[in-house]
Symmetry: C2
Subunit: 362 residues, 2 copies
DNA sequence: ATTAGCACTTTGAACACAAGAGTGCTAAAA
DNA sequence: TTTTAGCACTCTTGTGTTCAAAGTGCTAAT
């Protein structure tokens, strides 16, 4: 007769079985599930009355709830949580799903942006839930290497390779004549004194010293440092993009104007998404289940995983859906795909040379 | 008793007045407007009966329609069209609106991406309709200049400046040792033979000749040309982004699940948007009003203008809303803003040098 | 410990009904 | 000839009622 509320106490084997059946049935049907349904459709060798008793207890423990006095039970947030953490089988991706995923990766080799885009399209198609792709800009970005392209007599392009692998450039116009020598000197000095240094530590004395030592090119130091700042410190390049939001409308819990409203708000509130994702662990698939007090809207859940490349978090990929979503399939898909992406983008040199070593383009 | 259907025939002064009043009232209220409403709220010096007669004729002519036998009239697509083309006053932007717009432009000088983004946010806020920002990639993009950055002993970054001003790069790994000489030779040759050439005209013989003449660097020709292709021909960089879609829910005609569905579909169908925009004139604000047969969903309208910089269409900015949207205000806002953006982005060199010649970053 | 049975609650669909809004038309007034 | 008052008619919308279905909790029997 355990009646504790969420006491962390063990559930009997039978309770687990019933909880699990309720949740899986509810994931399938989207409707409250009653005792009778379970007796006929799940293989539980007890009568509806027994199940009713057990469900009443599961409700008291906080795993189930009733929308109103007389309808079946639906899982609470705690119920889903328990399911995800302890009850759920992990879904096996089918061979054809794996093939699809791998094809995508192979064809779009190299580019974070385009990988993210096709990955999220693909996951949306595979899971039938909308996906979110996030590209983060690490705040500790520094310029690792400078270079230039001479354009005319009076302008050139300062090219910077950042530590996250992207390449930025800045078009600089001058009021004096440029030549190869001037720019060689400039980039040499920049590579020596400014590369690999956090922009905050670039001091005025350093800059003045650089300017002096550079002669003609000195006039360009100021502009160059500005360019560095623009592309590291103040660059707000992180992007959040959605794919397949329309799919939500197929799920009755979102097919109301109010629900739609909150979803649209969420979509437009990129910071909200980023914040949720920030709090996740970097080395596993995170499952956030929404409820009243949370950042996430009620009846919705968010499954995501950060993308780690060479030890750095470069983005994340996630799936948004109703709280009754197909956790096991989504978790497996996200897990597999993000692992592969991380590997693909890693610096590991190609083992064999039949594959060209293409990589990181901006 | 003219009873032609849309005969292109002149409407009497009184009919115009009534049509206009109906449309403006409907834009305000969002509901069918009846004869009685007009007698009391618009200053039409006739009785409701007279207005009823006129409205019946306007309906026969195709400018108005009744949702059902006994409710007021609402404008048809033809009605809106006539209103936009002939009846509408142009809205005067208020001083504060102009100030807001100009501030935005000043602060974000230089960068198409970020200008588009803030512009669309601003227009969404100002008009209370969602906005669309489109960036197009001109298909005649060619690489104008090649350069490189040596990274390790076995990899380097091929840097390309494209004719649209953007800079792209590709990370290339090799299975032999690199040095400055090899890469200098490579980029020299690329600049001589491949720069400013449409990628379609790069033939195999040319490539083979290049490979031969380059010695060690020859092995890199193939990869380099591949990089050129990736970034010009097959680069699908045009982007469509929405801002403020949630606002639509405030308008009752969109506050239904079905309507939402079609809107979400539209948002996800970037090509659809691009196609609609393609057909617009480049030198004016275009107003597309949706109806059954059109590309655009019923009850919605789309107002947009292309952004022309130095004679090239680089993008577009548009406003999406219900067909009863506030045309005059939206048209004015879009017009003003897109004019200013086009000017701001034009090549005019900075007059004074107190402003650094910042430009085009990737 | 389990189950059959029953009374009870809630939902949701179907239906009827009244009120309100707006029309078209006719006949009178300007 | 043009305008308007008046009236019958239509359609929508909201409300109240009824009724069946689903599912529960509890008691008593197995």
């Amino acid at each position: 007769m355990s009646k504790e509320v969420l006491g962390g106490e063990e559930l009997s084997r039978r309770k687990k079985q019933i909880l699990r059946s309720v949740i899986e049935a509810h994931i399938m049907l989207g409707e409250p599930v009653g005792s009778k349904y379970l007796t006929t459709n799940a293989d539980i060798p007890f009568s509806s009355a027994t199940i009713r008793n057990e469900m009443a207890e599961l409700e008291a423990m906080g795993y189930l709830e009733q929308p109103h006095t007389s309808s079946g039970r639906i899982p609470t947030k705690a119920g889903y949580r328990f399911y995800v953490d302890s009850l759920m089988d992990s879904y096996k991706l089918t061979a054809s799903e794996i093939v699809t995923l791998n094809n995508m990766l192979r064809s779009k080799i190299g580019e974070l942006d385009s990988i993210l885009q096709s990955a999220s399209k693909l996951v949306a198609a595979l899971t039938n839930y909308p996906t979110v792709a996030v590209k983060t800009t690490s705040s500790e970005n520094v310029v690792e290497q400078f270079s230039y392209m001479l354009m005319g007599d009076n302008d050139f392009l300062l090219v910077m390779r950042l530590s996250d692998g992207t390449v930025k450039s800045k078009h600089i116009k001058t009021d004096f004549s440029l030549d190869k020598n001037i720019l060689d000197t400039l980039t040499d000095q920049l590579n020596t004194y400014v590369a690999n240094v956090s922009p905050e530590t670039i001091t005025l004395p350093l800059m003045m010293q650089l300017e002096k030592s550079l002669g003609d090119a000195g006039k360009l130091v100021d502009l160059s440092i500005k360019a560095v700042y623009e592309n590291t410190v103040s660059s707000d390049d992180s992007s959040v993009s959605f794919e397949g939001v329309g799919k939500l409308l197929e799920y009755p819990e979102f097919a109301s104007v109010d629900q739609m409203k909150s979803v649209l708000n969420m979509i437009e509130d990129k910071d909200g998404i980023i914040n949720i994702m920030k709090e996740g662990d970097a080395d596993k698939v995170n499952v956030v289940i929404g409820e009243d007090d949370e950042k996430l809207a009620e009846h919705s859940a968010f499954i995501f995983r950060k993308l780690v490349v060479d030890g750095k978090v470069v983005g994340a990929i996630g799936v948004f859906g109703p709280s009754r979503m197909d956790y096991s399939k989504v978790v497996s898909t996200v897990e597999y795909l993000s692992d592969q992406i991380s590997k693909t983008l890693g610096t590991a040199l190609p083992e064999k040379k039949d594959d060209d070593g293409a990589d990181t383009k901006t």
